[in-house]
C-alpha cells in the first residue's frame, strides 16, 4: 500500500507578527499540521516573489505568505508595499497557469496564535485535497536530465 500524500508547504512569515503568532500557537500548546515549514523574514516587504518561485522550484506543493495586518507593520509600511506586489504577482501566476489555490496570503498578528494554527491546518487540508503539484514537478524532473537541444 502506498503512503498517503503529505503536502510540503513553505510559509514565508514576518518576524514581528506572524512568527510571533506561531510562537504563541506553540506556547499555547496548539497543535497544527506538521507539513508547514516556516521561513522567518524581517518583514513581508522583504518577501520577494522570487522566494515563492524558488519554493515551487524546489518541490513545494504550496506556499503561504503571511505578515502583519495593515497599519501594524514594524517598519510602518512594508506590508502595504508587499500587498501591491502580491496583487500583481498573483495576476501573473494566474495568467501563466500556476493555480492560485497553491499560493496563499494572509495577515496574522502576534496575538492570533489560534488563527495561525487554524490557517495552517486549513491550508494543509486544501493542498492535500489538490494533491502534489505534478505539473511543476514534471518540469523539475526535466532539469535533472541533461537539456535536450
Amino acid at each position: 500500500m502506498s503512503e498517503p500524500f503529505e503536502p510540503k508547504i513553505i510559509a514565508f512569515v514576518c518576524t514581528y507578527c506572524t512568527y510571533a503568532g506561531a510562537d504563541l500557537a506553540g506556547t499555547s500548546r496548539l497543535k497544527y499540521a506538521p507539513n508547514v515549514r516556516i521561513i522567518r523574514l524581517p518583514c513581508t516587504g522583504r518577501i520577494s516573489p522570487m522566494f515563492i518561485l524558488k519554493a515551487l522550484q524546489k518541490g513545494a506543493d504550496g506556499v503561504l505568505v503571511s505578515g502583519c495586518h495593515p497599519g501594524d507593520c514594524h517598519f510602518t509600511h512594508g506590508n502595504y508595499h508587499a500587498r501591491r506586489r502580491w496583487t500583481v504577482f498573483r495576476a501573473l501566476l494566474e495568467f501563466t497557469g500556476i493555480p492560485l489555490d497553491r499560493v496563499k496570503f494572509s495577515w496574522i498578528s502576534a496575538a492570533e496564535g489560534a488563527k495561525f494554527a487554524e490557517f495552517m491546518n486549513s491550508v494543509t487540508e486544501d493542498i492535500r485535497k489538490l494533491g502534489p503539484f505534478d505539473q511543476y514537478k514534471e518540469l523539475i524532473k526535466e532539469t535533472e536530465a541533461p537539456a535536450t537541444l
Binding site: R83, R84, L92, F95, T96, G97, F119, Q135
Partner: protein, 276 residues
C-alpha cells in the same frame, strides 16, 4: 516637404547650433522593411536619416548607455508616444535627466507618419494623458481574453509550450529599455534564482520574473517581441500585467517624469480581497 525632409533639416539645425551633441534616429537596415539605429554627431551624417512607417523600434534604451548623458550635454532622439512614455519612466526612476533629452516626436498610423509638436517630454503631456483614457481599450487583446477563458492547467500548458522554445539568449532583456540593471537577477549565482540551462522550468521562471519586473513599467513598445528569435508572445504577458496595474491601481506607466513607480508606492486602501 515630406516629414522626413523636415526632420532632416531640424536635425541639421540642432547639431550645427550646438543644441545637442548627438541625435539618435533611424537609417536603412539590412532589408527593405528593417531600420537600424543611427547616431548622428555631425550635420552631414543627417543625410542617412530615414523616417517612415518601418521606424517602429523604441530607441530610448540607447539613452541610458553608460556615460552618454554624464557630460550634461543634450541629446536628440526620435520617439513615438510609447518612447516618450519610456523616457518619462526612466526619468521617474532617476536613470536620466529629462531636461537633457530633445524629443523629435512622430507617430505612425498605418503607413502614414505624422509629426508630433513639442520639444521636451513635458510638451507631450496632453497626448500622453489621452493615451491613458484610451488605455483600457488599447490594452484589450483577443488572445488574452481567450487565455483567460481556459482553466489554469490549459493556460499552464500554453505557456509551457511557448516557453519551452526559449533559448535564454536574453535578447528580450537587451532590447528592453526598462531592463537597465547592471546586474540582472539571472546573472547572479549566489543564490542561483533561475536555472540557467534552457530547461522549460528555468525558461518559465525567467519569463515570469521578467514580466514581474516590467509590471507597471512596460509601455508595450514591442522591442522584446521583435527581438525574440523564437517568437514567444512576450508582449501578451506584459499587456496582461499592464491591464492588472491599470485595473487595480489606476496606474499607466510613463504619464510624467515625476510619476511614482506603482510597485514603489501604495495606498492604504488598496484592495486586498485575496488576503485571508
Amino acid at each position: 516637404m515630406t516629414i522626413q525632409e523636415q526632420y532632416k533639416t531640424r536635425v541639421r539645425e540642432l547639431l550645427s547650433s550646438g543644441t545637442v551633441k548627438m541625435v539618435i534616429g533611424y537609417k536603412a537596415g539590412t532589408t527593405a522593411d528593417r531600420r537600424r539605429p543611427l547616431f548622428i554627431r555631425t550635420p552631414e551624417e543627417a543625410d542617412q536619416l530615414l523616417l517612415d512607417s518601418a521606424c517602429i523600434a523604441n530607441l530610448s534604451g540607447y539613452l541610458i548607455a553608460e556615460g552618454l548623458l554624464s557630460d550634461e550635454k543634450r541629446v536628440g532622439i526620435f520617439l513615438k508616444p510609447d518612447g516618450i512614455r519610456t523616457i518619462n519612466i526612466l526619468a521617474a526612476e532617476a536613470q536620466l535627466n529629462i531636461e537633457q533629452i530633445i524629443v523629435l516626436g512622430f507617430d505612425i498610423t498605418g503607413q502614414e507618419v505624422t509629426a508630433l509638436q513639442g520639444e521636451t517630454a513635458g510638451d507631450f503631456s496632453a497626448l500622453i494623458e489621452s493615451i491613458k483614457e484610451g488605455a483600457p481599450e488599447a490594452l484589450k487583446n483577443p488572445l488574452i481574453d481567450q487565455l483567460e477563458q481556459l482553466n489554469p492547467k490549459e493556460r499552464f500548458a500554453y505557456w509551457q509550450a511557448e516557453f519551452s522554445r526559449c533559448i535564454k539568449c536574453y535578447a528580450c532583456r537587451q532590447a528592453c529599455p526598462m531592463c537597465y540593471c547592471r546586474r540582472c537577477i539571472v546573472d547572479c549565482n549566489q543564490p542561483q534564482w533561475v536555472n540557467t540551462s534552457s530547461h522549460t522550468l528555468g525558461n518559465f521562471e525567467w519569463n515570469i520574473v521578467r514580466a514581474f519586473h516590467l509590471s507597471g513599467r512596460c509601455v508595450g513598445c514591442g522591442n522584446c517581441d521583435r527581438a525574440c528569435p523564437v517568437n514567444i508572445p512576450l508582449r501578451l504577458i506584459n499587456a496582461r500585467m499592464a491591464q492588472e496595474v491599470l485595473g487595480s491601481f489606476d496606474h499607466l506607466a510613463g504619464m510624467s517624469d515625476t510619476q511614482e513607480p506603482v510597485l514603489a508606492s501604495f495606498k492604504k486602501d488598496d484592495s486586498e480581497t485575496f488576503i485571508l
